[in-house]
C-alpha cells in the first residue's frame, strides 16, 4: 500500500461496531466523503454485525451469518483498510498517531472514536469463573451457546432489556432459567410497576423463575460457576451465570488522550470531542449530559458526524424522545417518554384489562402527551411516540387518547393504519436497522417491489424485531397507491391468481394438468416455481383422484424420497405404529433394521412411534424392504398428509376410560392414512376428559365421554398454539368415522396449500365448518364419500413400492456402473 503518496486525508475509525460503521456508511454516500482514505480498527475478530440481533442468535432465530452488516468484500470494495482483532491502545495527539495492541501505528488527520460501551462488572466474588459471562458480543453468545449444549441451569442477573432477552434466549435453548433482579419490578427504567408486573407474570408462565429484590452477593464455585448466593440468604444453583446489569461508556482511550470526559466522552452538537480533529459517536459519548443505550439516536449521530466530516458545517445533533421495546416473541411491550406523572400538573390515564393481559398508560402535561407505556397491544406505539416528539396539542382528544388512535381520531373502519403518507422522508421507520421512510420508498419504486417480504429482504426494514411491520406495510400501500390492500394474495410471484380462484378454476374448467392451469391463469413463468408447483400438484391430486398422476418433481425432497431429510443430508424413517400400539415382532424388526444398517439414533417421537434417524439415502430402499416384510408401512412423518393418531389406553385398561379410545384411534388411522392434504394432519383420541392423548391441540381430536364422543377440530400444538373448537358430540364410532372423513375432505377441498387446519378454521370460522358438517347431513355424507373414494388411490404403501424398485434413480448416484 502506497500510503505516503495518497493525497487524501486519513480517517482512522476506532471501533468496528454499529455506530462507527454507520458513520462510515453515511460518509461514503456523501460527495465530501471522497476526501478520506479510511482505516478501521476493531477489537473483535469479526466484521461489523448487528449487535441488537445477538438476542435472536441466542434464541436460535438467526445465525451469526444472518446478522453480518458488512462483509469483508464490502470493506474491500470501498477501499477501507480493516484491521480486526486488534484494539487501539493509544492515541498520541502530539505525533498524531494511533497505536494498536499488536503494535500497528498509523498517522491520522481525523479520528472517529466509536468504542461503544462495556458491560458493568461490579466486584462480585466469583465473577470471571468459567461459566460466567456478560451479554455484549459474539464471544459472549458463543459461551452461552456452548454452555446450553452441555449444561442445564442458567441464572441471569439483571432484569432489564438485555437480561430478559438473555433469559428468554437461554430458555429457548432448553436451559432452565432463573433471573435475579435488584429491584421489585422488571425493566423499571422503561416500564412502570404495573407493566413490569404483567411482564413478569407472562414470563413466569413461560417458565422463567424470578428472584426480584435480589442482591447478588457471590457467584459460588471452585472450577466453574455452581450457583448464585443472594444477600438475603437465597441460593440458586447454576452452571451458567450471565451478568447483564447495565453498561458503562468505554472512555479509557479518550481519557488517556486527555480528551474531555465525564460519564462518557463529551461531545458537542457537531459530534466533536474537545479536540476538533477527533469525533465520537455511539454509546461511548455523552451529549448535553445524556448517554445512550439504544441505536435510534446513534443513527442520528452517525448522520451528523458524517456530514461534519464531509465538510458540512451546519449539521447538528439533537436528542429526540426514544421508544423501547423488547424482542421476545409474543411479548409486546412499548414505552416512550415519562413513565409516570412527575408533578401535580401531570395526569396519568390508564386502561387495564387483566383478562386479556392489556395495559396502557399515558402521561399528559400542559395539553401535550409526554409519556406512554403499553403492554399487550403495542400497535399504537409509534403514533404515541410521534405525538410526544412533535409536542402535538392533544387537548381535543385527551379523553379518547388512551383508547388508541382509531378511536381518538375517529378513523373510518379499515383506515386505522398509521399515517405514513404525511411522514417526512427522513422519518426513521425501522429502528433496528436504521431505515428511513425515504429509502423504503426508493427501494419500492426502483426495484418494483410489491410485497412486504420483498421490502424486507431488500431494505432490511422490519426484518429484525418486526415492531415496525405495520408501518412498512402502510408505506408499501401508500407508494403503490393502495394496490396491495385490495388484492387477495397470489399463490406466488408467477401469477396474480389467488389460491381460491385457482382451486375453483381447476374444477370449473376441468383443468387436469399443471400446464393447463398455468395456461388458463396466464402464469408468468412457463414452468412455475418451487412455491406454486407443489401447490398445483396437490390441488390437482385433490380434484382428480385416480386421474391426475402425481408429479414427483414438484414435490419437496421429503415427499419425493418418502423420508425426512436431516441437516447432514441423511434421512429419518418413521414406520406407522397404528394408534401408538406396537407388538414384540414389530419391535424386533425395528431393532434388526437399526443394527443391520448401523442406524445411529433410535428415538421415540412426540407422536407415539419410533424414529430411525441418520439413515443413508442409498440404504433407504433396503431399510424399507425389511420393514415391509415385517408388515409395517410408511408413517408419512414427512408428508403433507395424515401423520400420527395418538391414543390413550382408554376403557381397555384405564380405570377412568369411557370408550375404547385406542381401538377408535386405530380405526381412524387405518381409514385416513396415505391421504394427501394441504398441510400435515394429526389426530388424537382420549378415553375421557382427562385427555391424556392431548386431543385438544390436534387438527382433529376425539374426547370420549359416557354419552359418546366429543369431536374437536382446528387445534395446533406448534408455533401458535391453538386449542380446538368443539364441532359436535356424536353417539357411535360410525358417526366419528363419518364426520372425520367429511372433515378431512372439506379441509382437503377448501384450505390453501400449506395452511393447517388451525389457521384455516381461524380464517373461515368454526360456524362455517359446522354449517357444512353438522347442519347439512346430506353434504356431510357426500364429503365423506368423496374422501373414501380418493383414499382408494392413496393407500398404497410408498415404501413397499420403492423397496420393489420404483424410482430407483432417486436413491443411487451416477455413474451407475462403477467403471464408467
Amino acid at each position: 500500500m502506497n500510503m505516503i503518496s495518497d493525497p487524501r486525508e486519513h480517517l482512522v475509525v476506532i471501533g468496528n461496531g454499529m455506530a462507527g460503521m454507520r458513520t462510515v456508511e453515511e460518509l461514503l454516500k456523501l460527495p465530501g466523503g471522497k476526501r478520506f482514505r479510511i482505516t478501521v480498527f476493531g477489537a473483535e475478530p469479526h466484521v461489523n454485525y448487528n449487535r441488537i440481533m445477538l438476542s435472536s442468535v441466542l434464541a436460535g432465530d438467526k445465525s451469526i451469518d444472518e446478522i453480518v452488516i458488512n462483509s469483508r468484500e464490502w470493506y474491500a470494495e470501498n477501499e477501507i483498510n480493516l484491521i480486526t482483532g486488534d484494539a487501539v491502545k493509544k492515541i498520541d495527539r502530539e505525533t498524531r498517531t494511533v497505536i494498536s495492541a499488536s503494535g500497528v501505528e498509523v498517522r491520522y488527520d481525523k479520528i472517529l472514536i466509536a468504542t461503544g460501551s462495556r458491560p458493568l462488572a461490579p466486584p462480585i466474588p466469583g465473577l470471571g469463573l468459567p461459566g460466567t459471562c456478560a451479554f455484549r458480543d459474539i464471544a459472549d453468545v458463543d459461551k452461552m451457546l456452548a454452555a446450553a449444549k452441555t449444561h442445564k441451569r442458567a441464572v441471569v442477573i439483571g432484569g432489564g432489556l438485555l437480561g430478559l432477552e438473555a433469559a428468554w434466549g437461554l430458555k429457548q435453548r432448553g436451559m432452565s432459567v432463573a433471573l435475579v433482579h435488584l429491584m421489585p419490578t422488571l425493566m423499571e427504567r422503561q416500564l412502570d410497576a404495573a407493566a413490569g408486573q404483567l411482564l413478569q407474570r407472562d414470563l413466569d408462565r413461560r417458565g422463567i423463575a424470578f428472584f426480584t429484590d435480589g442482591q447478588t452477593e457471590e457467584i459460588t464455585g471452585t472450577d466453574r460457576a455452581e450457583g448464585v448466593q443472594l444477600a438475603d440468604g437465597r441460593f440458586i444453583p447454576a452452571d451458567l451465570v450471565v451478568l447483564a446489569i447495565g453498561i458503562r461508556p468505554n472512555i479509557d482511550l479518550a481519557k488517556a488522550a486527555d480528551l474531555e470526559v465525564n460519564r462518557g466522552i463529551v461531545v458537542t452538537d457537531d459530534m466533536r470531542t474537545s479536540d476538533p480533529d477527533i469525533f465520537s459517536v455511539g454509546e461511548c459519548v455523552e451529549h448535553r449530559g445524556a448517554v445512550f443505550g439504544l441505536v435510534a439516536p446513534i443513527w442520528d449521530q452517525a448522520k451528523v458526524c458524517a456530514s461534519r466530516l464531509a465538510g458540512d458545517e451546519t449539521a447538528l445533533f439533537t436528542s429526540r424522545a426514544l421508544a423501547t421495546s423488547l424482542k421476545i416473541t409474543g411479548v409486546d411491550v412499548f414505552s416512550a417518554g415519562a413513565l409516570m406523572a412527575e408533578g401535580g400538573d401531570d395526569d396519568e390515564i390508564t386502561l387495564r384489562d387483566d383478562n386479556r393481559g392489556l395495559y396502557k398508560k399515558i402521561v399528559v402535561r400542559d395539553g401535550k402527551l409526554v409519556g406512554a407505556v403499553l403492554y399487550g397491544d403495542v400497535a399504537d406505539g409509534q403514533w404515541y411516540l410521534g405525538l410526544i416528539r412533535d409536542k402535538t396539542d392533544i387537548r381535543e382528544m385527551r379523553d379518547k387518547l388512551v383508547f388508541g388512535r382509531a378511536f381518538a381520531e375517529s378513523l373510518p373502519p379499515g383506515k386505522t393504519g398509521p399515517d405514513t403518507a404525511s411522514m417526512p422522508d427522513d422519518a426513521q421507520i425501522c429502528g433496528c436497522n436504521g431505515v428511513s421512510k425515504g429509502s423504503i420508498v426508493c427501494a419500492i419504486k426502483d426495484k418494483g417491489l410489491v410485497s412486504l417480504s420483498q421490502v424486507r429482504s431488500h431494505t432490511k426494514a422490519s426484518a429484525s424485531c418486526g415492531q415496525c411491520t405495520n408501518l412498512v406495510e402502510a408505506i408499501l400501500a401508500d407508494t403503490l397507491g393502495g394496490a396491495v390492500e385490495k388484492k387477495a394474495p397470489s399463490i406466488c410471484e408467477c401469477t396474480d391468481a389467488g389460491h381460491d380462484a385457482v382451486r375453483q378454476g381447476i374444477v370449473a374448467q376441468s383443468l387436469k394438468t399443471m400446464g393447463a392451469v398455468r395456461a388458463a391463469f396466464g402464469w408468468k413463468k412457463p414452468e412455475g416455481c418451487h412455491k406454486c408447483r407443489p401447490a398445483l400438484n396437490y390441488y390437482l391430486i385433490c380434484a382428480w383422484p385416480g386421474e391426475y398422476s402425481d408429479d414427483s418433481r414438484s414435490r419437496f425432497i421429503n415427499e419425493r424420497a418418502h423420508a425426512n431429510i436431516q441437516k447432514d443430508g441423511t434421512y429419518s424413517v418413521v414406520p406407522r405404529m397404528w394408534g401408538g400400539v406396537t407388538t414384540p415382532s414389530e419391535l424386533h424388526a425395528i431393532a434388526a433394521v437399526a443394527e443391520k444398517f448401523n442406524i445411529p439414533t433410535v428415538k421415540v417421537t412426540g407422536g407415539q412411534r419410533i424414529d430411525l434417524l441418520g439413515v443413508k439415502k442409498e440404504d433407504l430402499p433396503a431399510v424399507w424392504g425389511d420393514l415391509s416384510k415385517a408388515g409395517m408401512v410408511s408413517g408419512h412423518a414427512y408428508a403433507k398428509g395424515l401423520r400420527t393418531v395418538k391414543t390413550c389406553v382408554g376403557s381397555e385398561w384405564c380405570r377412568f376410560g369411557t370408550q375404547d379410545s385406542t381401538g377408535l384411534g386405530i380405526k381412524l388411522e387405518k381409514m385416513c392414512w396415505g391421504s394427501w392434504t394441504p398441510h400435515k394432519v394429526k389426530f388424537a383420541v382420549s378415553g375421557c376428559p382427562r385427555n391424556c392423548a392431548e386431543a385438544t391441540i390436534k387438527d382433529l381430536g376425539v374426547v370420549c365421554v359416557e354419552a359418546g364422543y366429543d369431536l374437536l377440530v382446528g387445534g395446533n400444538g406448534g408455533v401458535d398454539v391453538r386449542v380446538t373448537d368443539p364441532l359436535v358430540r356424536v353417539a357411535t364410532e360410525e358417526d366419528v368415522l363419518e364426520y372425520t372423513g367429511a372433515f378431512m375432505q372439506l379441509y382437503r377441498e377448501e384450505a390453501h396449500y400449506l395452511e393447517r387446519t388451525a389457521p384455516w378454521i381461524a380464517r373461515v370460522g368454526i360456524a362455517y365448518v359446522k354449517k357444512r358438517l353438522v347442519d347439512d347431513a346430506e353434504g356431510r355424507r357426500s364429503l365423506n364419500a368423496r374422501f373414501l373414494y380418493s383414499q382408494k388411490f392413496s393407500q398404497d404403501d410408498p415404501w413397499a413400492a420403492r423397496a420393489g424398485g420404483l424410482d430407483a434413480q432417486e436413491f443411487t448416484k451416477l455413474p451407475e456402473l462403477a467403471d464408467a
Binding site: 414452468e527 416455481c529 418451487h530 418433481r553 448416484k813 455413474p815
Partner: protein
C-alpha cells in the same frame, strides 16, 4: 487450466426431467450433481448451496433454476449464482453431451485416480 479430463457419466436419460443426480466422485472433496431441466438442458454444479451447503440435487428444478431444499434459496443452474436478494455463488462444473452420453469436465490434477 486447459488440462480438462472428460469423464463419462452415462446417458442423459439417467437423469429425471426437472431433476438431478449426484455423482459418486467429487471435485476437490466436494460433491458434484448433474441437473436436467424441463427443456432437456443439462448443467453440473458443486452440490452445495452457497448458503449452508444444502444438497442442491435434492431441490426443485424450475426453468433454469434450482431451489435449495433446506432454506429455499434459488440458484441459477447456468451461472451458479443465487437469485436476489440472496447473495452467493456455487461453483459450476463443465459438462457436455456426446452421442447421448454425458461427460463431466475435471481439471487434470483433481481427477479421481
Amino acid at each position: 487450466m486447459h488440462d480438462v479430463v472428460w469423464k463419462k457419466i452415462g446417458p442423459l436419460s439417467n437423469i429425471p426431467v426437472r431433476g438431478a443426480r449426484r455423482l459418486c466422485f467429487g471435485l476437490g472433496g466436494k460433491p458434484i450433481a448433474v441437473f436436467r431441466t424441463g427443456e432437456d438442458k443439462f448443467f453440473a454444479l458443486v452440490d452445495e448451496c452457497p448458503h449452508k451447503k444444502g444438497p442442491l440435487s435434492e431441490g426443485i428444478v424450475s426453468g433454469n433454476t434450482i431451489t435449495c431444499p433446506l432454506h429455499n434459496w434459488v440458484i441459477g443452474l447456468d451461472t451458479g449464482i443465487a437469485a436476489e436478494p440472496d447473495e452467493g455463488k456455487t461453483q459450476t462444473v463443465p459438462v457436455k453431451l456426446e452421442n447421448g452420453e454425458l461427460y463431466i469436465g475435471l481439471e487434470l490434477e483433481r481427477a479421481p485416480a
